[in-house]
Amino acid sequence: MTDSSVSTPVTLSSERSLALIECGNASIGRRNDEVVIGISPAFGNFFTKTITGVPHVDVLRELLAGIEEQGIQARVVRLSSSSDLAVIAQTAARLSGSGIGVGILSRGTTMIHQKDLARLSNLELFPQSPLIDLEMFRSIGRNAAQYAKGEFPVPVPPGNDYMARPRWQAKAALLHLKEMEFIKPGTQPVELKVEISARQMSARPVVTP
C-alpha cells in the first residue's frame, strides 16, 4: 500500500487574537454585494482552532480577506441552534443580501450555500476538514464573493486523502459531539462584530512568586 503524504498536524499558535462581540439578532441583509459567514455554536469561543490546529482567528481572517478582495462586504453571524453544517450554511445564505452564505464548523468543515438551493445541496462543500488550510479558506472566501457578484468561479479543489480517516475520524466525532453540547435549540442567529488584533509578542508572562 502506498502511504500518502498525510497532512502534518499543525499546532499553530496565531500571532493574532480574536474577539467576537454579539450585536443582537441577525437580520436579512439589504445590500446585494455581501456574503454572510455563519459560524457554528462553539467556533471561536470554546474552540479556538480547527481539527488540525489552524487558529479560528486566521480562518476568519482569510475568509474575510478572500471576500473583501473581490470588493464584496462580509458579515459574520453565529448559529447556536444547530451544529449541522447544511443548516448553518443555508441560514447564512438566507440572511445574505446576495443570497450567498458560507457555513463553517469549529473543526473546519466548510460549505458555500445559496439561499434558493435545497438544504442538502450546496455550491461547494469541503467535507474533509483536515485538508483545509489557510490558502483554501481564502479561496473559499474569494469564490463565495464571486458567486455573490453573479460570476461562476472554478470550484476550489476539495482535496482527498485516504489516510485522513484513521488519523482524524475519531477526533472529528469527538469535536462534533463536543460542539453539540453548545447547541441552544430555538435561538436566533446573532450578528457578530469581529475584532482581530495583533498579539503583543514581546510581552513576557509575569510570574508572581
Binding site: M1, T2, D3, S4, V6, S83, N160, Y162, M163, A164, R165, P166, R167, W168, Q169, A170, K171, A172, A173, L174, H176, L177, M180
Partner: protein
C-alpha cells in the same frame, strides 16, 4: 534521571529520549485514539447505558423487549420485535444465560443449525451480552462455524480516481482473474456511473465468467442500473441503529425493506450495509454503545428479509478503531451477523491504519476464520484510485496476501497470476470495451489508451479522456434504455463471443433467482455456491472447508518460489 531532565527547562523543549523519538515517528502514532465517552455513545461494546435483556410475548406478539414496553417502542424496536425475532422460540432462547449461548457458539459439537434455532429468538441486548462474554479468539472460533457459506470468498473494489472506464475494465478483468468473486465500484463524478458500471461488468466477465458486479450510488440510480442488468448485485443500502439517524436520511426500516423487495423482484442479489460508529459519528447514538446499535442494524437486515449484510464498521472504522476494544467489537459485529444466519461481507474495506502491523491485525480475525466475503472490499487498484476513500488493503498488497494464504494454508480467495496472463486479460478486456463503446456509439477508446492501460498501475499512468464527451455518453446510456442484453449483443457483434456468453449466463440468473439464496456467488462454471448447497458444515478439527487439492496447489504459487529440482530456477 532527575526531574529537571524529565520536565526540561521552562521555556525550552523538554528533553526526550532517542527511543521515544523513534517510537514517536512510528506510523501507528499517526493513527487517532480517543478516550471513551459512554454518555454520548463513544464506547465500543461495554457501556452501562445499554439496556438489560428481556422479552415478553403475549398472544404470539412480542410486547416487551430489552426493558421497553410495546407502547414505548421506537420504530426500530417495533420492526425488530415484529419482523426479526421469532416469538415462538424467544422466551425459551432468552432463558439461556449469555455464557451458555456463547459456549454453544464455540462448541464444535453443537451444529450451526442448533445455534440458529436459539439465535432467532434473541433480542439485541441479549446478543450484546453474549458477545461481551467472548474474547477475540472465541469469536473467531465461532465465526468459523457460523459463516453461512462453506467456501470463503473475497470482494474487490475496482475504481478509478478519474472515473476512467478504460482503467476500470482492465482492473476488473485482472481482479476477476486474481480470484475475487464480487467486484464493486463507485465514482468521483456520479454521472459517470453508467459508463464505469458497464466497464466493470465487461471486465469482470472477461477476467472470469460469473463474477458479480455492483456500483455504489444514490439508491434510485443504483437500483436502475441493477434492473437494467448493467450490474448484478447491490450492497450500499445503509441502515442505522437509532431512529434519529435513520430519519435524518429520510428513511425507515420499512422503506429499506421496500427497496430490498425491488431488487428481489428482479432476481438481483442484494445485502444491506451497516457498522459500528455511524450513529456516534453523526451525534445520534442516544448514549448507547456502538455494538448495541449495530446489533439493532443486524436485526433490521434480518427483519427486512434480505439475505445478507455488509458490516464491520465499514466507512466509520476510524471511530471504533480509536476506542478501547473497538476492533473486538468489529469482530463481534461480523459474528452476530453470521449467527443470525445472514451472509456477512465482513468489512476490511476502508483505510484503517498507517501501521502495516495494525492493518494486518485488523483483517486476521476474518481472514483466519473465513467469512462469506473477507473484504468488502479489497482495493484491486492502488489506494489512490479507490473512490471509497481507500481500503485496508490494496493492489500493492496482493503478494503479501498470497504469501499469508500460503503460510497459514488459509483461503483468502485470491491467487498469484503470472504477469503474462495479467497483461493478456487486461488487453482483451480493454479491446472488448472498445468494441462495446463503438457498437453503442459511445465516446471512442483509442488503441493508445489500450496499450497504456495494459501496463499501467493506476490512473496516474493513463492518458486523460474527454470527460464532457464521456458524461454525454453516460447520459445517453440512460436515455436510450440500454440494458445488459445490449451489452451481450455488442460483445457478440464485435468478436467477443466468449465474454458475451459469460455475461448472458450471469443475466440468466436473474430469471432463475438462485442469487437470492443466502451467501450466493457463482463459480467459474456458473454453479451457484450458497448456504443451501454449500452450507458451512464445520464441526471441529477435520471438518468444514479446508483448502486442498487443486486450490491448495494454486495457493502454493507465488511470484518467487525456488525450484526444488533446480534451485537456480524458479518453480512454475
Amino acid at each position: 534521571m532527575s526531574m529537571a531532565h524529565v520536565a526540561g527547562e521552562a521555556g525550552q523543549g523538554a528533553r526526550t529520549s532517542k527511543r521515544s523519538q523513534i517510537l514517536e515517528d512510528r506510523p501507528v502514532n499517526l493513527d487517532g485514539f480517543v478516550e471513551e465517552w459512554p454518555e454520548v455513545g463513544l464506547v465500543a461494546m461495554d457501556s452501562d447505558n445499554d439496556p438489560a435483556p428481556s422479552v415478553r410475548v403475549e398472544d404470539g406478539v412480542i410486547v416487551e423487549m430489552d426493558g421497553r414496553q410495546h407502547a414505548d417502542f421506537d420504530f426500530i424496536d417495533q420492526f425488530i420485535a415484529d419482523r426479526a425475532i421469532n416469538p415462538s422460540v424467544t422466551e425459551r432462547a432468552m432463558a439461556l444465560s449469555a455464557v451458555e449461548i456463547a459456549h454453544m457458539l464455540i462448541d464444535p459439537k453443537i451444529s450451526r443449525d442448533e445455534v440458529i434455532a436459539i439465535s432467532q429468538g434473541l433480542t439485541p441486548a441479549k446478543l450484546l451480552e453474549v458477545a461481551k462474554t467472548m474474547n477475540v479468539v472465541e469469536m473467531m472460533m465461532a465465526l468459523q462455524k457460523m459463516r453461512a457459506r462453506r467456501t470463503p470468498s473475497n470482494q474487490g473494489h475496482t475504481c478509478s480516481a478519474r472515473d476512467n472506464p478504460v482503467q476500470v475494465v482492465a482492473e476488473a478483468a485482472e481482479a476477476a482473474l486474481r480470484g475475487f468473486s464480487e467486484l464493486e465500484t463507485t465514482l468521483g463524478i456520479a454521472r459517470y456511473a453508467p459508463l464505469v458500471a458497464i466497464a466493470q461488468q465487461v471486465g469482470a466477465q472477461t477476467g472470469r465468467g460469473g463474477v458479480l458486479t455492483q456500483c455504489a450510488l444514490e439508491e434510485a440510480t443504483e437500483l436502475d442500473l441493477g434492473m437494467r442488468g448493467i450490474t448484478t448485485y447491490a450492497e450500499t443500502i445503509s441502515v442505522y441503529g437509532t431512529e434519529a439517524v435513520f430519519v435524518d436520511g429520510d428513511d425507515t426500516p420499512w422503506s429499506k425493506a421496500f427497496l430490498a423487495s425491488a431488487y428481489a423482484s428482479r432476481g438481483i442479489k442484494m445485502r444491506f450495509t451497516s457498522g459500528t460508529g455511524s450513529e456516534v459519528l453523526m451525534g445520534g447514538a442516544e448514549g448507547k454503545s456502538m455494538l448495541y446499535l449495530e446489533i439493532r442494524c443486524i436485526l433490521i437486515a434480518k427483519g427486512a428479509g434480505v439475505q445478507g449484510l455488509q458490516n464491520g464498521s465499514i466507512s466509520c472504522i476510524g471511530v471504533p478503531g480509536a476506542v478501547p476494544a473497538g476492533i473486538r467489537a468489529v469482530v463481534a459485529e461480523n459474528l452476530i451477523a453470521s449467527t443470525v444466519d445472514l451472509e456477512c461481507a465482513s468489512g476490511n474495506d476502508q483505510s484503517f491504519s498507517h501501521s502495516d502491523m495494525r492493518r494486518t491485525a485488523r483483517f486476521l480475525p476474518q481472514f483466519l476464520s473465513g467469512t462469506d466475503l473477507i473484504c468488502s472490499g479489497y482495493s484491486a487498484t492502488p489506494n489512490y484510485d479507490d473512490m471509497f476513500a481507500g481500503s485496508n488493503l490494496d493492489a500493492e498488497d496482493f503478494d503479501d496476501w498470497n504469501v499469508l494464504q500460503r503460510d497459514m494454508q488459509v483461503d483468502g480467495g485470491l491467487r498469484h497470476v503470472p504477469e503474462a496472463e495479467i497483461l493478456a486479460v487486461r488487453g482483451k478486456a480493454a479491446r472488448a470495451l472498445q468494441g462495446v463503446f463503438s457498437y453503442l456509439d459511445l465516446p471512442p477508446i483509442t488503441d493508445h489508451e489500450i496499450e497504456e492501460v495494459i501496463y499501467a498501475h493506476g490512473s496516474k499512468d493513463l492518458p486523460f479522456r474527454d470527460v464532457l464527451e464521456d458524461l454525454k455518453g453516460a447520459q445517453s446510456i440512460l436515455d436510450r434504455g440500454i440494458t445488459g442484453l445490449d451489452l451481450v449483443k455488442a460483445l457478440e457483434a464485435t468478436g467477443f463471443r466468449d465474454v458475451a456468453e459469460n455475461l448472458l449466463a450471469v443475466l440468466r440468473q436473474r430469471v432463475a433467482g438462485d442469487l437470492l439464496q443466502t451467501s450466493a456467488i457463482l463459480d467459474a462454471d456458473f454453479n451457484i455456491l450458497a448456504a443451501v448447497n454449500d452450507a458451512n458444515d464445520y464441526a471441529g478439527p477435520g471438518t468444514g472447508y479446508r483448502p486442498t487439492g487443486a486450490r491448495w496447489e494454486e495457493m502454493k504459487r507465488l511470484r518467487h518460489v525456488m525450484s526444488a529440482a533446480d534451485p537456480e530456477q524458479e518453480a512454475v
